[in-house]
Amino acid sequence: MGRKRMRVRVRLRLGALALAALAGVLPACGGSSDEAPGTAPSAATVRLGGAATYIPSGDVRNLEPAAQGSVTSSGPYMNAIFDALFTVEPKTGNVRPRIATSFTTTDGRTWTLKLRDGVKFSDGTALDAEAVRFSWERLRNGEVQAVASDAVRQMDTITVVDPLTLTVTLKAPNWQFQHAVQDSSTIWIVSPTAVRTQGNDDFAQHPVGAGPFTLKSRTPNSDTVLARNPNYWQTGLPKLDTLILRPNPDGQQALDTVLSGGAQAMYDGVGQLATQGKDAGLSAPQDYGMQGGVTFLFNQAKAPFDDVRARQAVVLALDLDEINQQVFEGGAEIPKTLFSPDSPFYDASLTLPVNQPEQAQALFDELAAEGRPVSFTINTTSGSASASYAKAIQTQLSTYDNVTVEVAQTDVPTHSAGLRNHTFQLASSGAQSVDPEPALYAALHSTGSNNYGSIKDSAIDRGLDAGRASSDEATRRAGYLAFQKAVIANVPAIWAWRYHPVGILATNVTGLHFYGPSSPLFENFGLVE
């Protein structure tokens, strides 16, 4: 087996690829990545004022944080209006202060959040511990229809200690809870005064937060125009007077728009467009080595993939590097190991299974001889990159005997219903993250909330439990090494391609910072002199 060395920290996130069809309907758990320090240009080169356009990968349903499923598409909107409580440093898992100065625990159960003094919402009211409590409580008390989120499910009690301190206790210990908060709408705090006076419905159209911008006007599926918030807590920021968000799920079209000057920045989750953009003279400076990506998940509760040999046979039959050439012109990264080289949990020897045609054919023949032929349907969303990938899988498997493949392309709700009700056999889903927490846990643990593949593997469970139960890196590493071995043995999925988020910028802008898969922070985004 040709094993390449690679290190990954992965958090699985189902269905959350920044694809056209998926925009706005996905779960509240995104990955995270470094904020790329040092790319901020010196103040002399960035002009204050002016207007710039950023292209998110999709529009949001409305501007209510509780309604935001996919951080991938909602991050730009929410961060501009609400800012983020904090971001998580990917290597260490440490909290990077923003509105909150710290988020810590001593027992894994009680977490303490400390807020920065003097932060105000754009309506002039204070962003204090009470506001955080209010924002978190409304996500779970039914006052507003909130997207189901793992972070909120784990919370037990929320207590205001003093105006700048809040504690939250969890139902079960979790030493890595900061990741869950960063990756859900709990990271965005709403103005309680505005919610109470406007009501939830109006607030969703006219939100009030503490972000660098405030809403000026909005046309659904088209432009959302944001104006500078003069009371922003970081003095002298934001750089821009006007920020326009013009969503487009079609990456190629988005790139064309940037190239023709119709927008100044966009985001690419695969890396292929960034290469194309650089060739055309754009800059793509922010590549954070974000890990994770898209998987095709086996349903272990249904034939034929209730048999591990069927899962192995399919994985061994596929040449993913060739599919990369076909679907992404070689521009994507095919995961060779579950965790990427810069993850503390990486081990070069724990490689994922790779293409072995003879062995695969032998397994297909063996299963057919037993009367269990490998015949299945791949579920995918129409028009997405995973649909092309599924067709490539189908074409490769057509060269083997005793295996038949159909591809069913549907819209997102149909696809999600198939996942949620476990009626699929092999289905595309998203996988991206920095730490295995919380998304890998949700997707692969037998009790995980997103365990669509009906995985029941005690070795996987033990590894994930060990990783969650500690903040000590060595202990976690031991757990996750065992976990990786268990995943390699279980073959729960085809690890299709790695998530690789890059901001693509026109030459006249700079200062765009990302955290998570595509959550840009706009306060330093500005026009070059």
Binding site: Q326, S398, T399, D411
Partner: protein, 298 residues
């Protein structure tokens, strides 16, 4: 949406009947010959696809995105697609899919539509109201709703697609036939037949249907041409033939992603669609000319 590129329905009273008297320029009908040859070639290939020495359209024959004529081997002469499959083979098997689906949809739609239209235009009264109601309901419903509903409830397949396209053609044919029937029913010879006491059914099927059918038939090639384009739009919306089966629409839709690096993936099927639609429209017109000349001299 472009699934509406459906036949142009000729409404009631549209210039039916009066034979043309001006002289067409005496020209050899090269256009007709070429168009017929192209359609015959396509039909022949589609029928004989299985016995022709072609690669399996679902299986790879070589490296991905090879340009046309890079190799003169029959499998690769038109290049390969994103997944390394033979473009020639997929175009020919695609012809089979497209012709089958559109012919069936057109035939079902024409039979159903003409009967409904005849009923409405000849019987009038309650029948006209009922049929018009049905047609209006189908026409007032955005086709995308109908097609998405069909594609999600029944699973996408050749027959689901045929069913959807049929539904789209029925109103057109019904309107066409209704208009023609209405118009013919007012013509002197029909009125004369009536006054001689010919039965309604006899008039409908012996006088009105054959006469109005000419109008309908001349539109069949145009309808098929429109359906071929509609099939393509459905492929674009992800509602077309499920993979790995080939159809021109899905080939164009799939190739769109590599339009810049391998334009032949789109251009080859697009050219075939273009030529076919052109040929069908030419045929339609020439057939109409012929029929009208015959009705003048005969």
């Amino acid at each position: 949406m472009s699934t509406d590129v459906l036949p142009t329905t000729r409404p009631a009273g549209a210039s039916a009947g009066k034979p043309r008297t001006y002289t067409l320029r005496a020209r050899r009908p090269y256009g007709l010959w070429i168009a017929s040859a192209w359609v015959l070639l396509l039909v022949g290939c589609a029928v004989a696809a299985d016995v022709l020495p072609l690669a399996d359209p679902a299986k790879p024959v070589g490296r991905a995105r090879q340009v046309p004529f890079h190799s003169l081997a029959p499998d690769q002469i038109l290049g390969t697609d994103t997944y390394g499959r033979s473009v020639l083979s997929r175009v020919i098997f695609g012809a089979r899919t497209d012709l089958l689906v559109t012919l069936c949809a057109c035939a079902f739609g024409a039979v159903l539509g003409c009967l409904l239209g005849l009923l409405a235009g000849f019987v009038k009264g309650w029948a006209d109201r009922a049929v018009s109601f049905l047609i209006d309901t189908l026409l007032a419903l955005p086709p995308i709703i109908l097609l998405i509903a069909i594609a999600t409830i029944l699973r996408p397949s050749t027959w689901t697609l045929t069913f959807g396209l049929t539904l789209l053609t029925v109103p057109a044919f019904a309107r066409l036939e209704r208009g023609a029937a209405l118009s013919w029913a007012e013509r002197p010879f029909v009125l004369a037949a009536r006054s001689y006491g010919a039965s309604g059914l006899r008039i409908a099927f012996r006088q009105i249907l054959p006469n109005s059918l000419l109008t309908v038939i001349t539109f069949v090639p145009t309808v098929i041409a429109g359906l071929i384009v509609a099939e393509g739009s459905l492929g674009f919306l992800g509602l077309g033939i499920p993979p790995p089966a080939a159809s021109w629409g899905t080939m164009i839709a799939d190739g769109r992603a590599s339009l810049r690096i391998a334009p032949h993936e789109v251009l080859v099927p697009a050219a075939v669609v273009f030529l076919t639609v052109l040929a069908l429209n030419t045929l339609g017109e020439k057939v109409r000319d012929r029929l009208e000349i015959r009705s003048r001299t005969g």
